[in-house]
Structures are given as structure tokens and as C-alpha cells.
Symmetry: C2
Subunit: 237 residues, 2 copies
DNA sequence: CGAAACCTTGACTTAGGTCAACAAAAGTGG
DNA sequence: CCACTTTTGTTGACCTAAGTCAAGGTTTCG
């Protein structure tokens, strides 16, 4: 499963469905178009910023980030992808980002010339890109206008199925207000995604812990005690 | 012309071509698909965030911004569009942004159902979206990792044809290192685009003026004295 | 001409960055 | 399985870039 393990805690009433229909509504599937399937292990680079774009990729399993570097080493993670997301499109130019896995991943590749030919693929692409665009818009708000706490809260909320993201269904049953997240990112990766420093991320997480909103079981295993409180901290309510 | 008037100053040797082939390589053109052409005046809203998406739009003439608001009024301008750019795609959902003109504009509209049918349109769309995505990626770096000066310098550089943006050709002839920009945005709009406050934008502009890098003829009419110096300040060199 | 909108500048505050020390995991090799 | 190094995360003290607040200057427009 993507990015987090939807191991629903299900204390209280009915257990959450956990993961099946996640936030991003449209997902690609290249399987029918053949192409090569590759496996990558954690922190493997699929391509570097500046490489010639020759293939279109679909993330089939695992989790992957796209990032850009400034010459002095500052990094911005611009997208975090989950299964069904596509990447690598470049209109005949070089890749504008580096693509690096966050977990062991399975990636499906298709030659870009083939993509150019298939009407069906074009249609799928439009849908996927439209969605990714929306995510990027929302992330621009986060980067441009949100405080550190709001950024971290938003980040966590996006990892809860049907919450935080585009298809957010609002507060669920009052009983089941908790959730287990498995982050597949280091503090540094989270910081580079949220436009913060590693120290600030760490401090905010400690603070949320102190306030009882979350419980940190391991650095990358976080239990949300009160989803609704967290949601209030995203700046969006 | 988009967003700035490419009134080349052409002091020194040969005049710059000014504007014809701007940075963004792929441009749409819906004219052949019919659809309605509408004119909007400055600061007109084409649609609001939350409206049902029914049409796809192409900006034919003028300049337009897409922005999102947080409930407390904070605003983030997520895209600034120029002629040939498309907007309004939403995969059957509501619009995720408000679309508001920055200048008097001409917009071509096509029903989304028609878009769904046309293979040719889908192909154009993929190209356009891919480009817009790259711009969004770069903007994420700006918002997440750049200082105020770097943001303003990057913003100005993007308004110089063939510089700053994707198809940047690097330093041109040494002789012609100046350029006239016509911003079609208020300080507030620029601030909301760059993730800064109006005061910070104002201060940075004053500072660039003091340092002789730019000359401010009118608040929205800025002459770049030394494009290369400005380019050095973008954080990308 | 007067009002409204927009821009600039200064004085002060603060959120988040930097630097540094240490703690806790996670590999690695004997 | 246990030292030992490396990587990753946490916390504190301090600093600074950019935000806030406030006053005044310019432009624009009715």
C-alpha cells in the first residue's frame, strides 16, 4: 500500500475501510499497454533531473518522491507519489526533477513514443495530470501560506484515507477518531517536502505529542489520537 | 501580449526579438474547435473555487491568475497564466481555484464533454498540462526554499523572454543586458504569488533599485538594468 | 478636488532557521 | 551477540529574515 500502512486501529465502533479507495480519485494502469515492469529498492533513483526523458512511468507499488535541487544543495521535494500516479512526462525535454523511491517499489515503464500514439493513454494522462495539478495547487498554498504546525498537520491528514485530501469526507463517526500512520520518509525528507528544516519538523512533532494529539511509537510510526483536533490545525477549517 | 509588454529597449547592438517565442514551449489553440470566445476586463472572475467545472478555458489574450483562499483570508496565487495556457480542468469535480484576470483578457471556452471526445484536444491537453506541471514544480522550489530576494529576482527573470524560465538560453550578448517589464500585478498579487507580504515585496524592490539592478519607472513598470546581476540573485546560478 | 486604492518606509516582534550537543536506531563486522 | 560506526532524530540556546503594525506618500478615479 502507499506511503502509509492503513492498519486501521478500529477502537470503538466499526473499523474504517482503510486504504481501498484513497483520496486521489483517478489512477492510471498501464498494465494493458505492456511495457516493462521494474523493481527498485528503497532510495533508488529512477532518473535524475536533467536526464533525457524517454519513458513514462507508473508507480505500481510503493512510494516515490520527485525533487529538485538548487546549486547550493537546498532541496525541495515537489511531489510524493503513490500507486497509480504517473511521472516522467517532459514534452521531449529533460526531466525537471529527480525521481527517487521512498520504499521498495514496482514501476511500470512505457516508451514515450508509444504514449504519443495511444488515444486511450492520452485520456488517462489528462485525468492523472489534472489530479496531480490539484495536489500541486494545494501544496503551493501549504508552502506559501501555512505555518509549520499547519504544514505538519496537513501532511499527516493527507495520509489518512478520505481525509485531508481532495475527497475529504469530513469528520467521520465520533467514535473512531484515531489512526495509525506509517511514514515512509525520514524527517529530512518530510522537511524538504514541507519547506521546513529537520529541526522544525522534529519540534512540531514533539509538540503535537506533548499536546496529546499524536503518539509517536517509532520515528516513522505515528498514531493519531484525535484526527479531528489534528484536522483543526491544518489551517483549512 | 502576456503579462509584460516586451517593449525591447534595444540599447546597444541588435534589438531582442521580444516576446514572439516565449518560454513556455507548448501552447494550445482551441480556435479550430469552435467554442465560445469571451472578453473579460481587468479583475474579472471567470469562475470561483468551488464552482462546478463545466468548461475548459484557453487564455487567448491578456493575463490571468489562479488562486486559492484559506478560510481566514490568506491567499495563495498558484499560477499566473499567459496566452496559450489552459485552465478549468477538474475531472468532474469542482474548480479547485478561483480564476481572475489580471488584465483585460480574451478567453476561449469549450464544453468539457466536447473535450472528452476529441483525441486531438486530449493530446494538446497532455502537452499543456505537462508544461504547467513543470512550472508548478519550479514554483514549489521558490515557495519552499528561496529567500525573499531570490523570489523577486526569479519572478522578474521569468518575465524576460528566453530567460529565467524553462527554455532559458543563458546570458545573451553582453551589450544588451537590459529589459523593460510591464508587471500587470499589484504588489499584493505579487506577494500572494511569491508567498511573501506586500511590505517585503516593496522592500526588496526598493533594495534592488538602491543597488542599481533595476529602475522603477512606475510601480508596475520596471526596467532591468543588469539582467545578468538579477539572474545571479535567483538562487539558480 | 477629494476619496479610495495602492505603495513605501520605519520600528518592533516573532516564527522558524542555525549551530551545537547529545540520544537513539540501524547497520557492520568480528 | 556484542562493540562500533553511521545515520537519524531530539532538544536547547541563540539569531535573523521576514512578518506585523503604523504612519505617511502616491496614484488613480469619480
Amino acid at each position: 500500500m502507499a506511503y502509509f500502512e492503513a492498519s486501521v486501529t478500529g477502537q470503538g465502533s466499526g473499523a474504517r475501510t482503510g486504504g481501498a479507495a484513497l483520496c486521489a480519485p483517478v489512477k492510471a494502469s498501464f498494465s494493458e499497454f505492456g511495457g516493462k515492469t521494474s523493481e527498485y529498492e528503497t532510495h533508488a533513483v529512477v532518473y535524475y533531473e536533467g536526464d533525457d526523458a524517454k519513458r513514462l512511468y507508473e508507480l505500481v507499488r510503493g512510494s516515490l518522491m520527485l525533487y529538485k535541487l538548487l546549486p547550493d544543495g537546498r532541496r525541495q521535494v515537489v511531489e510524493v507519489l503513490r500507486p497509480g500516479d504517473i511521472f516522467g512526462l517532459a514534452n521531449g525535454n529533460e526531466h525537471d526533477c529527480t525521481a527517487e523511491t521512498l520504499t521498495d517499489s514496482v514501476v511500470q515503464e512505457i516508451d514515450l513514443r508509444q504514449v504519443e500514439r495511444s488515444d486511450e493513454l492520452q485520456r488517462t494522462l489528462t485525468k492523472c495530470l489534472t489530479n496531480q495539478m490539484r495536489v500541486l495547487h494545494e501544496h503551493a498554498v501549504l508552502l506559501g501560506r501555512k505555518s509549520a504546525v499547519e504544514r505538519v498537520a496537513s501532511f499527516f491528514m493527507h495520509l489518512v484515507p478520505d481525509r485531508g485530501g481532495l475527497g475529504c469526507t469530513g469528520p467521520q463517526d465520533e467514535e473512531n477518531d484515531s489512526f495509525d500512520l506509517q511514514l515512509h520518509m525520514t524527517r529530512q525528507e518530510i522537511a524538504d517536502y514541507l519547506g521546513l528544516t529537520i529541526e522544525t519538523v522534529s519540534r512540531v512533532v514533539s509538540d503535537l505529542k506533548r499536546r496529546g494529539v499524536i503518539r509517536v511509537d517509532k520515528a516513522d510510526k505515528i498514531h493519531l489520537n484525535r484526527i479531528c483536533s489534528l484536522c483543526q490545525m491544518t489551517g483549512m477549517h
